[in-house]
């Protein structure tokens, strides 16, 4: 018999991290993400890992950056206000290409907002929270099983690509309890960071390689390296030379384009013949999936495009499944964030309509069905 257990989304993120080989967690208590830290405090010692409860959100992110620079797979978890405080160190990790995973459990905002209530208001903060142009990957699980598998994938992507990865879930997914079979969800093979090997003479920590991913100089291996938040040359040392500075920055963002196929992931639900396409993530996608079933029972051909990778947005995948749709509906628990990206991609080819809710309650299937009927009438 399968090893079925009841598991909460936040706990699944923690167990997924352990399964991915994470051995370092630094965090700070914040609702509704604290269960991630509590689970890590229990599980990490069992695998010889290190759990540190830090004095604040800034230090938590700082410790994760340090542990990753030390060569470990490192993670933290937080929610809205804490995510804001982590942004400077997150930007540092983006610029210095330091692998790390951040679980952000979205609650009502801004500020303290509604700490125990769900929202999806960090879609733009996850992409643009830190300043300057930077690469970042954001994954959006929509079930407890996916909290587990997407956290594993987050580690695979961050370790392989040297880009920070955010696992973005709403409070409902974080506190959702579902039955999962973890044995069936194990990764076949763990993806490890590429550590620098070979000659130490003339080693460049940010060398421009074919895959645009510089091999990581593991501390103790003897490679001389310089790591900085300043815009830097392949040598690791700062530059303000316009051409060289731009080339250095462009490489880190081009890196994501080069590996777009590896990063992109989404789920399609009855999109082939859909007259009306719904684009949704997290708990809103769960409601949308039920709405598609209900609408189809009423003879309305609805379909769902659910990005599992939110950023970079899987744009070619979305464009490929629009087919004959007459409109796109974007239900999200904010005042319209993901819809801006959909509108940009559709370039006025077809109407893109929002369904927005910021009252601390999840969007229901019935609300989506009613909106679809309104749109099609």
């Amino acid at each position: 018999m399968a090893n079925q257990i009841n598991l909460q989304g936040n706990q699944a993120c923690a167990l997924g991290a352990i399964a991915a080989g994470c051995t370092f967690y630094a965090g700070y208590p914040i609702t509704p993400s604290s269960e991630v830290a509590e689970a890590m405090s229990r599980e990490l010692p069992k695998v010889g890992g290190t759990f540190i409860q830090m004095e604040d959100e800034i230090a938590s992110m700082g410790a994760v950056v340090g542990a990753s620079m030390g060569g470990l797979k490192a993670m933290t978890a937080t929610s809205g206000p804490g995510f804001s405080l982590k942004q400077e160190n997150l930007g540092y990790a983006c610029g210095a290409e330091i692998p790390c995973v951040i679980i952000n459990v979205m609650r009502g905002g801004p500020s303290t907002g509604m700490p125990t209530r769900p929202a999806q208001g960090d879609i733009m903060q996850a992409r643009w929270g830190t300043h300057g142009d930077h690469p970042i990957i954001v994954l959006t699980p929509a079930s407890v099983a996916e909290c587990y598998t997407e956290t594993i994938r987050a580690f695979e992507l961050t370790e392989r690509l040297r880009v920070p990865v955010i696992v973005l879930i709403d409070e409902v997914i974080g506190h959702l309890v579902e039955t999962v079979d973890l044995d069936a969800l194990q990764p076949e093979k763990l993806v490890e960071r590429t550590f620098a090997t070979g000659s130490k003479d003339g080693f460049e920590p940010y060398a421009v390689t074919d895959d645009m991913i510089p091999p990581f100089p593991r501390p103790g291996d003897g490679f001389r390296s310089h790591t900085t938040g300043l815009t830097h040359l392949p040598s690791g040392f700062p530059t303000q030379n316009p051409a060289k500075a731009e080339a250095a920055l462009v490489r880190t963002t081009d890196k994501l384009d080069l590996h777009a196929d590896l990063i992109a992931s989404n789920e399609l639900v009855q999109t082939k013949d859909a007259d009306l396409l719904i684009v949704a993530l997290g708990i809103s996608a769960r409601a949308a999936q039920q709405a598609v079933t209900d609408l189809r029972a009423d003879g309305i051909k609805a379909g769902l495009f659910r990005p599992k990778t939110l950023w970079p947005f899987p744009e070619s995948d979305l464009k490929a499944c629009v087919n004959g749709a007459k409109a796109i509906l974007v239900p999200e628990m904010n005042q319209g964030q993901m819809i801006l990206e959909i509108e940009r991609l559709m370039a006025r080819d077809l109407p893109v309509i929002g369904l927005n809710k910021i009252d601390g309650e999840a969007i229901t299937p019935a609300e989506i069905v009613a909106k679809v009927n309104e749109v099609l009438s």
């Binding site: 700070y28 208590p29 914040i30 609702t31 604290s34 830290a37 509590e38 405090s41 229990r42 759990f51 409860q53 004095e55 604040d56 959100e57 206000p81 405080l85 500020s111 303290t112």
Partner: protein, 290 residues
């Protein structure tokens, strides 16, 4: 009924959001009673913010700004400077926070407030952990106490915040307990009359967080004082130490046995904590006796 000598001015209202039996509500009642009506408060996210309540159930008569956890002290300094700029120098500016917002994330702004000797009265309701997020450890959590994030017991000592702040040479810092209400009230009165940064740290046994019976909060707070685990004392100008309760009269066991967070401790663990308490008490008494 025993007369507590407490003359309630009604500055803290019924219908507040504290857990039934929580000593923090009592501490707030005493502090707000002594501070009076000419005051403005800033409160960090904490149990005290929850107890103060959200509109329309505000439990304090004075206005409170519910600020951010990392910079409540800085915001209080801003309020005070704004009042001074308008000639309202006598209005008391209060800052309320928990131990997480004082010992951990808020330490930077509190330290800077103390360094500038901003004229605020800062009150830390110290329940030795992040009890409002489900009970994780803070740097105020004592050694050996089990919390959500130290399930086998914390391995390091409680941060000595009183003397860290005293090292800033602020005019007044004191510890207090709801078990000694008269002492608490006297300390608020004394602090209110002083210009500069004043800090009170009040021990608040957390009923669910410490695993204390609903009717035992003040009993546990009293034992914290009587065992010397949480000595009541004042430090003026960073150097003048005065013990408020001059003797410790009980062994630590009577304090520990009322709390589930210490139930994993064996005799050796208890003896280790007793030795720490003895050493700290003797050190404080020696400084105070000079």
């Amino acid at each position: 009924m025993k007369d507590t000598g407490f003359n309630d001015q009604g500055h803290f209202c019924s219908g507040h959001n504290a857990c039934a039996g929580c000593a923090e509500a009592l501490a707030m009642r005493v502090v707000l009673n002594e501070v009076g009506e000419d005051a403005i408060g800033v409160v960090a996210p904490s149990c005290v913010a929850i107890i103060l309540g959200a509109h329309p159930n505000n439990s304090a008569k004075i206005p409170f700004i519910h600020g951010t956890i990392e910079s409540a002290a800085a915001s209080a300094a801003g309020v005070k400077q704004a009042l001074i700029a308008q000639g309202k120098n006598d209005t008391t500016v209060l800052c309320f926070a928990g131990d997480g917002g004082t010992y951990d994330i808020g330490l930077q702004s509190l330290s800077s407030v103390a360094e500038r000797n901003e004229d605020i009265l800062y009150v830390c309701f110290d329940n030795e952990g992040y009890m409002n997020t489900g009970g994780q450890k803070s740097s105020s959590t004592p050694r050996a106490a089990a919390t959500g994030s130290t399930p086998l017991g914390k391995t390091t000592r409680k941060k000595n915040m009183v003397e860290i702040l005293a090292a800033h040479r602020i005019p007044y810092i004191a510890t207090a307990s709801t078990s000694h209400m008269g002492d608490l009230a006297e300390k608020v009165r004394k602090a209110k009359a002083i210009r500069g940064t004043k800090v009170l740290i009040i021990i608040i046994p957390c009923l669910p967080g410490w695993g204390v019976a609903d009717d035992a909060a003040t009993k546990v707070a009293r034992l914290a004082v009587e065992t010397g685990v949480f000595p009541l004392f004042e430090i003026e100008d960073g150097v003048k130490y005065t013990m408020s309760v001059g003797e410790k009269t009980k062994e630590i066991g009577s304090y520990l046995e009322l709390q589930k967070r210490y139930r994993h401790l064996d005799d050796e663990g208890r003896e280790g904590l007793q030795a720490e308490v003895n050493e700290n008490w003797e050190r404080l008494a020696e400084i105070a006796g000079k």
